[in-house]
């Protein structure tokens, strides 16, 4: 009956958001008087797997097949189904990210299970099995009840703070018989962005808009981001003009992010831009126009010229870090 959670790793290092998903699964297990089991796919060291115990799972199922090092959604789904069968799991959890979104709906269909995508809360068991999620691009929340026997959830990352304990998980290998179709998609080439903080997972983001005037001024954004350990983002016109790469553009047509801190510099705050960032916990807006609509969505605001403010802010962050 154990709660099953799919864990992701990058080259053998478990992702932070997966620790969050594991902790989330363990908490649901507690609420439903059962235990949590983590499923890990691909090449990874046992020492890293044992670590999952610190976030509340007793057991880790490991499918060591190296073909699983890349996302093969159908194979991942087969592995989840095999693990769910072994554990008798009725609650299955993945992340609401590119991998989870490709796998969880398949698992839901296979198990005729209701799916809530992008859950922000623990299930409310008094009312059924009710999860909160954002709808209408963050303009409202919905409370969705899963009525089927088996339940599948994708968790929105950065919804719960990590609170690691001291447990150590036991590891069991799981052999999965894959079908022909599980690896039907042939990967021709992979192009990984390395080095920078990945925008989708970043806790801190510094973002620039047309108010930055041109790509030559982006050093100011990058300096602040570097000092903070933040990722960089931009508004759509900035990407369209080629000042920044397209994967940095956030908003309705770009990425959706939910960092702890979003610093918007020289961005007016159009509704299409807000759709991508309004899940951020704290928003700082730096804009020379005190009437810029973004201030309405902000927690902190600074009115002034970005070219002057950015170096000062970077300096202040540097000073703060030295004294900490």
């Amino acid at each position: 009956m154990s709660v099953l959670v799919l864990v992701e790793h990058t080259d053998g290092n478990i992702k932070k958001k997966s620790f969050e998903a594991v902790q989330y699964a363990a908490e649901i297990a507690k609420k439903t008087n059962t235990t949590a089991t983590a499923l890990v796919l691909g090449t990874i060291a046992d020492s890293e797997l044992e670590n999952l115990g610190t976030h509340g799972v007793q057991k880790v199922l490991h499918v060591a097949d190296e073909k699983l090092n890349e996302l093969h959604a159908r194979a991942y789904a087969s592995a989840l189904i095999a693990a769910a069968q072994k554990e008798g799991s009725k609650i299955i959890i993945a992340l609401h990210d590119i991998n989870g979104k490709a796998v969880a709906p398949r698992v839901a269909v296979k198990l005729k299970a209701g799916l809530v995508s992008g859950a922000l809360s623990y299930p409310d068991l008094d009312k059924g099995f009710v999860l909160k999620k954002a709808v209408f691009s963050g303009k409202a929340f919905a409370f969705v009840n899963i009525t089927s026997d088996v339940k599948v959830i994708t968790l929105m990352a950065n919804s719960f703070p990590l609170a690691p304990g001291s447990g150590k998980a036991s590891i069991e290998r799981l052999d999965v018989t894959f079908g022909d179709k599980d690896f039907g998609i042939k990967v021709k080439s992979v192009d990984k962005v390395t080095g920078e903080v990945s925008l989708a997972d970043a806790e801190l983001v510094v973002s620039g808009g047309r108010g930055m005037k041109g790509p030559e001024n982006w050093g100011l954004i990058e300096d602040l981001a570097k000092e903070l350990g933040a990722a960089t983002a931009c508004s759509r016109p900035v990407a369209d003009a080629g000042w920044r790469p397209h994967h940095e553009h956030v908003g309705q047509t770009g990425g959706t992010i939910r960092p702890n801190l979003y610093i918007a510099v020289g961005i007016s705050g159009a509704i299409q831009h807000l759709a991508g960032v309004n899940g951020s916990k704290v928003i700082v807006v730096i804009n020379k126009d005190p009437e810029a609509p973004f201030f309405k969505a902000a927690n902190y605001g600074v009115v002034g010229d970005a070219m002057e403010i950015l170096p000062k802010l970077t300096e202040a962050v540097k000073k703060f870090k030295q004294h900490k």
Binding site: P105, S137, V144, T253
Partner: protein, 247 residues
């Protein structure tokens, strides 16, 4: 080659969401509806391009919705496509929606099913994957480029931390986003032609929903912005540290 494009009707981005009936439903009065942007700008337009380059023979549109979705479907037909099908049902459960679409798709046998990366109303990004599973087909999400040759598609897609190019056999479901195509505006000829294009309506065979929305909630109003003087960035940093606790 036959393409099915999944079209979902959604409230216009700039619409203010209002609730009714004790917050158990969304008030659609005064709401302008549009074609889900990802379906229109990317999935539909790429399907039309494939037809224009004679790779595709048929482009069919499908929507699950009640009669009030017909203006939006007509608008999609004005951009192009040979015919549309409306499955007469009001479904906000992705599994149910996918079942309806897959049931129909099986009767025709499409090579390519194109959908959007997510609908901007319920933001699930689930319907396409579920259709693929129901059709026993492959699925590629977050596509940024789709090329077709014979019975093979070469697709560029976003992955966790980068980009990947995949090769996949038909039939396949592909969820489209920015990059796949350039948005177009319907012209007068298209609008006229759309009037006479077939828009068939079918009643779905029963398929139960496995989720229901019990209620909605509006986000709490922002406490109001706290302004910091541009000459006092130390204060801003201090606030972010000790008040907001984000650094």
């Amino acid at each position: 080659m036959k393409i099915l494009v999944c079209i979902s009707q959604v409230p216009d981005t700039s619409t203010k969401i209002m609730l009714k009936d004790n917050d158990t439903a969304v008030n659609s009065q005064g709401t302008t509806y549009i074609i889900n942007p990802y379906d229109e700008w990317y999935a539909l337009i790429r399907a039309l391009e494939l037809k224009e380059s004679v790779v595709a023979t048929d482009v069919h549109l499908i929507t699950v919705g009640k009669a009030d979705t017909e203006p939006v479907i007509r608008k999609a037909l004005a951009l192009g496509g040979d015919q549309a099908l409306r499955i007469d049902a009001d479904s906000i459960d992705p599994y149910q929606t996918a079942n309806y679409i897959a049931e129909y798709a099986k009767t025709v046998g499409y090579d390519l099913v194109l959908c959007g990366k997510e609908s901007i109303d319920y933001n699930n990004g689930s319907v396409g994957v579920m259709i693929a599973e129901l059709l026993d087909a492959d699925y590629i999400g977050f596509a940024t480029n789709i090329q077709v040759e014979g019975t093979i598609a070469t697709v560029k897609r976003e992955i966790e931390g980068g980009e990947e190019t995949d090769v996949v056999n038909f039939p396949v479901v592909i969820a489209c986003q920015k990059g796949v195509a350039e948005a177009r505006i319907p012209n007068m000829r298209g609008i006229m032609a759309a009037r006479t294009k077939p828009l068939n309506v079918v009643t779905p065979t029963a398929s139960a929903a496995v989720t229901t929305i019990l209620s909605y909630e509006m986000p709490p109003a922002k406490a109001g912005v706290k302004m910091v003087s541009p000459d006092n960035m130390d204060e801003l940093v201090e606030l972010l540290h000790s008040e907001a606790k984000v650094i």
